[in-house]
């Protein structure tokens, strides 16, 4: 239980840093989605199922879709 939360926390921090530093915007969006997904697991481990359900549907699902649709509409994948 403790080891699993440590691993999840480390991967969460790494994915957040990659989301900030990535050259391609689409990599940032996918990494943001990954960090939301890991946050869901940590919320479940912290016994907060309400927050976990909201984070899974809004943070990992809907926000990613909105970001990808916006990227498609802007028509460029690279940050300036």
């Amino acid at each position: 239980m403790n080891v699993i939360s440590f691993i999840i926390g480390i991967v969460l921090v790494i994915s957040a840093i990659v989301a900030i530093e990535a050259k391609k915007l689409i990599t940032s969006v996918v990494m943001l989605s990954l960090s939301s997904l890991l946050a869901v697991v940590s919320f479940v481990l912290l016994k907060a199922p309400d927050v976990a359900i909201t984070e899974a549907s809004v943070g990992a699902g809907f926000t990613t879709a909105i970001f990808l649709l916006t990227l498609k509409r802007l028509g460029r994948g690279k940050s300036e």
Partner: protein, 250 residues
């Protein structure tokens, strides 16, 4: 007709503000004069001094009747019972955000996607969309019993809309959703004003709380969560539909 409804709403707000500011009347629960506040009647003081360690009676799932809040999921009892005014504010923020997106990019014809979709994928997507819709409705109607509630339920409904919009090339979201969104926001305020009239506080629970664990329990909590779920689902579906509209020629 519109002007009459607007006049009625403006009059109700006028009555609400006057009743809040009226310091003399006891019946309208106005703001008392300076220095004459009875702190023992205030909500925060009541909940701070409320004892939790002394005998509050054992609470048994499925048997306890007429509890103060009555919802089995305690997060829901905070979100749509004690702090319902905050939730009204959240719903308003989401409404303003989707309106802004609709003003910026909405209104065009349906955009054709560059990919061709397999018929097997189309038919299986229809089945999944039906299941997702039912699951979304389940999540927000059982918000007071199980984890979940109006906001996740509405987002799950919007996810089914997204799947339908990606797979079907010529589908658009129904115009009725705009009407549903507006009328649900109106109903939320109507429930709040009904609480103001019946009990004396805006959005206070005025229905019997029933047995803990039943579907029809916890007073107005399931009603309010159903309203929020339908409103959020309609809003986010409209938002996705705006993203699938064609861009205007400059």
């Amino acid at each position: 007709m519109k002007k009459v409804v607007a006049a009625i709403i403006a009059f109700l707000f006028f009555v609400m503000f006057v009743s809040i500011l009226n310091s003399d009347s006891k019946s309208l629960m106005g703001i008392p004069k300076f220095g004459e506040v009875n702190l023992a009647e205030r909500v925060s003081s009541r909940y701070i001094s409320k004892s939790v360690s002394e005998d509050a009676g054992e609470i048994i799932y499925g048997e306890t009747n007429n509890a103060e809040s009555g919802s089995a999921n305690m997060v829901t009892s905070i979100v749509v019972n004690y702090r319902s005014f905050d939730t009204l504010g959240e719903v308003t923020v989401l409404f303003i955000a989707t309106t802004g997106v609709a003003i910026l990019i909405g209104g065009g014809k349906r955009q054709r996607l560059a990919i061709s979709v397999n018929p097997i994928l189309k038919i299986s997507a229809r089945i999944i969309v039906a299941l997702l819709l039912v699951f979304g409705v389940y999540v927000f109607t059982h918000g007071h019993l199980t984890p979940g509630g109006g906001f996740p339920g509405g987002t799950i409904i919007a996810a089914s809309t997204l799947l339908m919009l990606v797979v079907e090339d010529d589908k658009r979201v129904s115009k009725l959703l705009k009407f549903l969104e507006g009328s649900m926001g109106f109903l939320y305020v109507v429930i709040g004003i009904a609480g103001l009239i019946i009990t004396g506080s805006f959005l206070q629970n005025f229905l019997p709380t029933g047995t803990i664990g039943n579907l029809f329990s916890a007073g107005i909590a399931p009603v309010v969560y159903s309203i929020i779920g339908l409103k959020v689902g309609a809003e986010l579906s409209g938002l996705l539909d705006d993203f699938f509209a064609e861009e205007e020629e400059k």
